[in-house]
């Protein structure tokens, strides 16, 4: 395994970006004002590999916030003809954290279990992902370690550890080896570097305080038991139905469909765009009946979808512990706190709990 770990001197990052750019749309984390965003990068773009996650998750490249399903155009005979959008460039993502790598697995599992159409799985297939290890929690609300996504290193063709002066890169697929070889002379990590890497990995769990004291695979059972809990109302009382939690969530998949007509009326596009279960009107049917009318029901539904329905339907928990939803919630509704409450744990890490988990997860 170690033999597949190579050195990537920091100054060779640009060469990797250049190499990927020959066949991919290359995106990475870049500092924008006080925040970090996933955006297109070129050689010379300062990649912020120390970024404390982004507000919008990488799913934006696999199921964009708005995308054209097809174009329609009125023919001579008055009927509409339809045309699918042209093929897009596959995407390469550089610097994807464990939580977001996990989210790509969730996206694939959801789409493949639900639908024969391979739009999103196809994009995942054609993409190239470069993972990046985290050394500290991105956000105060992050609980990736407890959800098991801190250690996630796939799906990624290359996986990087930033050791300051040098990046260590593990090749995880033939494709990854090919692009790395083109970007730099393949030079194995030195024994000293490997020792330094192991040491940092061993020490890493201490930087991630334990907040949940039950395994994520018990979430479905815990949530089922908490189905009638007054907690949903108590928490939803401060929900503003703004839907931010849905938009920033790396595993939300719901969308709306609407037509954008050109002024002439003869042409236009049918588009899908992100929406979510917390957005007012999401659960309305024709005639105005709402089958999930209260915020408590909507909140319950969102949490259940992540913790119960997705594992039951797709075999994978729908929450990665990235902490985005709680961070961007204007009233600080925290999915972690809800998990802790329904799981019967405590909100703060304890020495005992910490040791138990660290013992189990130390590399």
């Amino acid at each position: 395994m170690d033999s597949e770990i190579y050195r990537l001197p920091r100054e060779r990052l640009d060469a990797l970006v250049e190499r990927l750019g020959r066949e991919y749309r290359v995106v990475g984390p870049v500092k924008r004002g006080a925040t970090w965003v996933w955006t297109d990068v070129r050689p010379g773009t300062p990649l912020a590999l120390d970024y404390p996650t982004s507000m919008l998750p990488p799913r934006q490249f696999f199921a964009p916030p708005r995308e054209t399903l097809f174009t329609y155009r009125r023919d001579g005979d008055g009927r509409f003809a339809f045309e699918q959008p042209p093929a897009e460039r596959p995407v390469a993502l550089i610097g994807v954290h464990g939580c977001d790598l996990t989210s790509l697995r969730v996206l694939r599992a959801f789409h493949e279990s639900s639908c024969r159409d391979r739009l999103v799985p196809g994009r995942l297939d054609r993409s190239l992902v470069v993972g990046l290890a985290c050394w500290t929690p991105c956000l105060p609300e992050s609980f990736c370690r407890d959800m098991g996504s801190l250690e996630a290193e796939s799906p990624a063709s290359l996986y990087m550890w930033d050791l300051g002066s040098v990046l260590l890169v593990r090749v995880q697929s033939p494709r990854g080896r090919e692009v790395l070889r083109d970007a730099t002379v393949l030079e194995a990590a030195t024994p000293d570097e490997l020792v330094a890497l192991r040491k940092r990995l061993r020490a890493r769990p201490e930087a991630f305080p334990v907040r949940l004291q039950f395994a994520p695979d018990k979430l479905a059972t815990s949530l089922k038991a908490a189905e009638a809990d007054i907690l949903w109302e108590a928490t939803a009382d401060r929900c503003l139905s703004c839907g931010r939690c849905n938009l920033v969530c790396p595993t939300c998949t719901c969308f709306d469909v609407c037509d954008q007509a050109a002024l002439s009326g003869g042409t236009g596009t049918r588009q899908r765009s992100w929406t979510g279960c917390q957005v007012p009107g999401f659960s309305k049917v024709a005639g105005g009946h709402d089958f999930r009318p209260t915020r408590a029901q909507q909140l319950r539904y969102r949490i259940f979808r992540k913790g119960k329905y997705m594992p039951e339907r797709c075999g994978i928990v729908g929450c990665t512990g990235c902490g985005r939803c709680a961070t961007h919630c204007p009233t600080h509704i925290s999915i972690r706190d809800i998990f802790v409450q329904v799981g019967g744990g405590t909100a703060a890490g304890t020495a005992a709990g910490g040791a138990a988990v660290a013992g189990g997860k130390a590399p």
């Binding site: 097809f70 709306d256 899908r272």
Partner: protein, 275 residues
């Protein structure tokens, strides 16, 4: 490049019959390879306006002529306002059928009760047609129809024709309120169940109507001794894709565009969002 299969087919409207001021009955050319089961639905759109799910009021070759299907569309929003002004010869854009395919072998030799409230008669009409098309395979058939007022009774021609078939199908009507001139029953649909003499263990019920109807009817049917696994509900949700992706129709963990909208009560009775 894979895409989402959401491109509709142009389908010509063959006939348009208003049932009242807001409900319009359409006979439409079927899309290619269109072989739905009762309870499935189609997505119908007008480019530039939008798309919505509609139930099938008659299936090709079963009530509707081969190669055609029927829908009853209520004028209730921007899209349906426009569709209901369309005339024969104009084109609707259709894709489908979508939804769970419930096959009918399992219902053979049983009695059938169909409970339709208001617009709920639209999807259930294809159930009645299916049952009458294979009449010898079922026991007694009761169709219970409730409407707010006599004016809102839909598919009157069919109701009269079915009522004239004697023991083939027992048609029971009731309205919530009526002006003078209505000599039928006044009351809610559950009251119609009171008069039925049934071998309840061998009876299957199909329900479709406004949300308020389900709970009362289920309770009554269960009290009559029908088995939970013999109760079928068609549920309304606002599907946007029909593919099991968009999430708008999700009821607890179920995507009703795939696992519904026709659901078995025993399979969904534990769900919070069902009725």
């Amino acid at each position: 490049m894979p895409q989402l299969s959401m491109i509709p087919e142009p389908c010509r409207i063959l006939a348009v019959t208003p049932h009242n001021a807001r409900d319009v009955h359409f006979v439409v050319e079927a899309p290619r390879d269109f072989a739905p089961e009762p309870g499935q639905f189609v997505m119908v759109s007008l480019p530039g306006i939008g798309e919505a799910p509609f139930s099938l009021a008659a299936l090709p070759g079963e009530g509707a002529a081969a190669g055609t299907f029927e829908m009853l569309i209520r004028r209730i929003g921007r899209l349906t306002n426009l569709i209901t002004t369309a005339k024969a010869g104009e084109v609707l854009y259709v894709r489908g059928p979508y939804g769970r395919r419930v096959t009918w072998d399992q219902f053979e030799d049983t009695n059938l009760i169909l409970l339709a409230g208001g617009l709920g008669l639209a999807p259930l009409r294809s159930f009645v047609r299916r049952a009458l098309g294979r009449r010898d395979r079922f026991g007694r058939i009761d169709l219970l129809v409730g409407a707010r007022s006599p004016d809102e009774l839909l598919f009157r021609t069919d109701l009269l024709a079915w009522a004239a078939r004697g023991d083939d199908v027992h048609v029971h009507l009731t309205v919530d309120a009526a002006r003078e001139g209505w000599d039928g029953r006044i009351g809610v649909i559950t009251e119609l169940l009171g008069g039925l003499a049934l071998e309840s263990a061998n009876t299957v019920a199909f329900l479709c109507g406004p949300p308020v109807m389900y709970r009362h009817c289920l309770r009554r049917l269960l009290a009559m001794g029908l088995y939970e696994h013999n109760l079928w509900l068609t549920l309304e949700r606002r599907m946007k894709c029909g593919l099991g992706l968009c999430g708008n129709c999700q009821m607890d963990g179920h995507y009703l565009c795939r696992e519904g909208p026709l659901v078995n009560w025993r399979e969904v009775r534990h769900l919070r969002e069902v009725v």
